[in-house]
């Protein structure tokens, strides 16, 4: 069974079409990434898939149930880590899990024995009695992850789970997500951190202006859409250098004060930089971020 499949999804708010014909198919046990700049329609797509809002067109199947008609039934086996924490500030850490479990119809006597392992998983062992407002941002995120697991879901939606976290906290969340896929759970992740997507996702869809504009594994996306090598250059005289190398690179782009030169063979480019003490440069393999910027453009998004 395909845990999540959507065809021809459309959704408008007023005059604005936010989702304009999205097709998705998430395979069991994979971590599927939905990438896109702010306002691309990622969160709306997730809310449609959860049955929280009705699509204007298209159909959705979540864990075999038609959504939104049987979204309630589907959601009994789904967990959600929302973009913004909405832990219950009136309760302690452990009470948050108990109370949340009740919404799934899980009796406290069934949740109680699971609280310690869940807190352990979230790196919050021994913090069960702590108040929510005493937790750091990273701890709140981890508790939200633990909360999403109270009903032992088959599929988890994670909406920008590491936005605003420090690197330590981010790595811990990543490690836990990998553990969840190893346990056989299916993960659907939205993010605009390319590193996160590249590390975690087996397959990705890049979304912009309500449409999916590319889909595939991180490696395939890089291979299909971009030259394998990049030289980033900045410093005095970078404009002159850019003009000189236009014929040596497959593609040259300037963002801010940095020039990006893409090519399959960068040796000729690097030779032009020898002895240029004013120019600082970095030679690296092309990454998902280069693909993302090429596909979605370099304009600032709000």
């Amino acid at each position: 069974m395909t845990p999540l499949a959507a065809h021809g999804l459309r959704k408008s708010f007023g005059e604005m079409e936010v989702v304009s014909g999205v097709d998705l198919a998430v395979e069991a046990g994979e971590c599927f990434g939905l990438l896109g700049p702010n306002g691309a329609g990622k969160t709306t797509t997730l809310r449609l898939c959860l049955g929280l809002i009705r699509p204007d067109a298209g159909d959705i199947r979540l864990l075999g149930e038609p959504v939104p008609q049987r979204a309630r039934e589907a959601r009994t086996r789904v967990g959600v880590v929302p973009q913004f924490d909405n832990l219950d500030p009136d309760f302690t850490v452990a009470e948050n899990l108990l109370v949340y479990g009740r919404y799934f119809g899980v009796a406290p006597r069934h949740i109680a024995p699971r609280i310690a392992p869940l807190l352990d998983f979230a790196g919050l062992a021994g913090r069960g009695g702590a108040k929510i407002n005493t937790l750091s941002g990273g701890m709140k995120r981890r508790l939200t992850l633990a909360r999403a697991l109270v009903n032992d879901p088959q599929l988890l939606f994670l909406d920008e789970p590491t936005t605003g976290l420090d690197p330590q906290a981010r790595h811990l969340i990543w490690e836990r997500m990998r553990r969840l896929t190893a346990e056989g759970k299916t993960l659907v992740l939205t993010t605009h951190f390319m590193e996160e997507a590249e590390r975690l996702c087996q397959r990705l869809a890049v979304m912009d202006h309500g449409r999916i504009i590319a889909q595939g594994s991180p490696r395939a996306l890089i291979a299909d859409h971009i030259e394998p090598q990049v030289v980033e250059v900045h410093g005095q005289g970078v404009n002159a250098w850019m003009e000189r190398v236009r014929s040596l690179a497959a593609r040259v782009e300037k963002v801010g004060d940095t020039v990006f030169a893409y090519a399959a063979d960068v040796d000729p480019l690097l030779r032009t930089l020898a002895g240029q003490s004013e120019l600082a440069y970095l030679h690296r393999p092309a990454s998902l971020e280069d693909v993302f910027l090429k596909l979605t453009g370099r304009d600032l998004r709000d």
Binding site: R72, R75, F84, Y103, F104, G105
Partner: protein
């Protein structure tokens, strides 16, 4: 019955903050009751055949119930919906907005009922009423709580900010309290005001509770019950309709 989980969530929070919550819900109305009842009441002849404090106790029981229901459904409800985003979290579970609306209304009504019944307990302890008929004030108080919780929740799901509630409280609730027979018999007001009072729920709550304190059955009880039940039902339906709209955006 999924609303029970929502009701229970609020109940558990209430239990944690029991002392403060009970104090704030009861101190004000009881101070008013004894201050005005004994102070002002000493200067007054019996009203409708009962001492002024007993007369006023019936009004105060309903008013305090109304205020508890309104504060809980509006201020606390809005804080859960808008400030803490508690409702958003609940909606990821197999609950829908209708369950939350039902749970919130029934919770606010329960809390209001507790205020009303505690005041009734005080009334009995102070010997202001003695007939077993006063027990009929218990279901009446629940109906008053239900009507104002349902109407309050409409305000909550329509509100964009906290100021919204001030209009409702100042422009609607306060004048209603003045014309609904809480402090003096409503019938001594000009006829148009009496008609307005009879179109609003508080009047009917008072009309149900007051006779029971002097050991009588309320007259035309079914009309009063019907008005309160009508406000509850209509409030519930509208609150759900507006909440669905708000949460589909």
């Amino acid at each position: 019955m999924r609303w029970v989980a929502v009701w229970r969530r609020n109940f558990l929070v209430w239990r944690k903050l029991l002392a403060a919550s009970v104090l704030t819900n009861l101190a004000d109305p009881l101070i008013m009751l004894f201050g005005l009842g004994y102070g002002l009441g000493a200067l007054m002849p019996p009203v409708e055949g009962m001492s002024y404090i007993t007369f006023f106790a019936a009004g105060q029981l309903c008013t305090a119930t109304m205020y508890t229901a309104s504060f809980e459904s509006m201020f606390s409800g809005f804080s859960r919906m808008h400030g803490q985003k508690t409702w958003d979290g609940i909606l990821y579970a197999p609950l829908v907005i209708d369950d939350i609306v039902a749970g919130e209304i029934l919770w606010a009504a329960s809390k209001a009922w507790l205020t009303g019944s505690t005041i009734l307990g005080v009334v009995l302890v102070f010997g202001l009423a003695s007939s077993p008929l006063v027990l009929l004030a218990l279901p009446a108080a629940f109906l008053v709580g239900l009507a104002f919780s349902a109407v309050g929740l409409i305000m909550t799901v329509l509100a964009r900010n906290w100021d919204f509630f001030s209009f409702y409280m100042t422009l609607l609730m306060t004048p209603m309290m003045m014309i609904s027979g809480v402090f003096f018999p409503a019938e001594q007001l000009p006829a148009p005001l009496v008609a307005v009072a009879k179109a609003l729920p508080l009047y009917h709550g008072v009309a149900l509770v007051r006779p029971t304190l002097s050991g009588q059955l309320p007259q035309d009880a079914w009309i009063h019950v019907a008005v309160l039940a009508g406000y509850s039902a209509l409030g519930y339906v509208l609150a759900i309709r507006f909440a669905r709209k708000r949460f589909s955006e």
